[in-house]
């Protein structure tokens, strides 16, 4: 499923470049410790986290993550939003919990 299809199905608020919407999502990884993500997340997965600092974009780019899903309504700094546009990584901002977002992803077939 592509990022733009998740957007169409969920209508979650998103910050994304045109190019980032076309990325294919191969699965989901949920975690907030950056080293766990670096060590265990697979390329193409969507990453669910409450972390919002600029560093998540570096991790997402290096791991070739398909999109970021910030949950629990965590406030995202403008610097992070600017960086995801620059790096062509879509970023969803969802008020729901990580568990609820995981369940929705499952229902979507991701």
């Amino acid at each position: 499923m592509k990022v733009k299809e998740v957007l169409a199905e969920t209508n979650w608020p998103i910050t994304a470049s045109e190019e980032s919407l076309e990325k294919e999502i191969s699965g989901v990884f949920c975690g907030d410790l950056l080293s766990w993500v670096m060590g265990n997340c697979e390329p193409g997965q969507a990453w669910i986290t409450v972390q919002t600092h600029l560093n998540i974009v570096a991790v997402a780019a290096l791991k070739e993550i398909s999109c970021l899903i910030i949950v629990q309504g965590a406030e995202v700094p403008q610097a992070t939003l600017d960086k995801v546009l620059e790096e062509n990584i879509a970023l969803f901002q969802v008020p729901k919990s990580a568990y609820d977002v995981c369940c929705e992803c499952f229902k979507l077939g991701i």
Binding site: L34, S35, M38, G39, H53, L54, N55, A58, L62
Partner: protein
């Protein structure tokens, strides 16, 4: 003989630029057409080591080198204060990261174990004057 050499600088607690050197190295190596799986391993190891320098050290230098025999090596040389217990630092889950670093999601205690796991060669020595880490990857010459 070296086929390629590049130096980078890392500043202490420069969280805003964390990952910048790793991204540059990945970008350079991608242009060289490196195998994507090897490239991902290099990116993981390089990021963890770069973050360690930012969180724990007084800053230092990173050197990327590709030798004619096909060994890609990256040296991380910082200016101290050294790792208090290297054996523990190599154990998953042990960390001395500050509260500030933890707030950003660092300090899982997986840095050095992650680096060792994905690299073909791993050498580390530490003293109060600084830590010297070398990681190597076998690539096609």
């Amino acid at each position: 003989m070296s086929l390629f050499h590049q130096d980078y600088q890392v500043q202490r607690e420069d969280y805003a630029n964390a990952g910048r050197v790793s991204s540059s190295i990945k970008s350079v190596l991608k242009q060289m057409g490196l195998n994507p799986n090897v490239l991902r391993n290099i990116a993981v190891a390089c990021y963890e080591a770069e973050i360690n320098m930012i969180i724990h050290s007084e800053g230092g230098e990173i050197e990327l080198n590709i030798a004619e025999d096909g060994l890609l090596s990256i040296h991380f040389n910082d200016h101290g204060p050294g790792i208090s217990d290297l054996e523990k630092a190599m154990s998953p889950g042990w960390s001395t990261a500050s509260e500030k670093a933890r707030e950003f999601g660092f300090g899982a205690g997986m840095g050095l174990p992650n680096i060792k796991r994905v690299s073909d060669e791993f050498e580390i020595e530490t003293s109060p004057q600084g830590t010297r880490l070398m990681i190597g990857f076998r690539i096609q010459p």
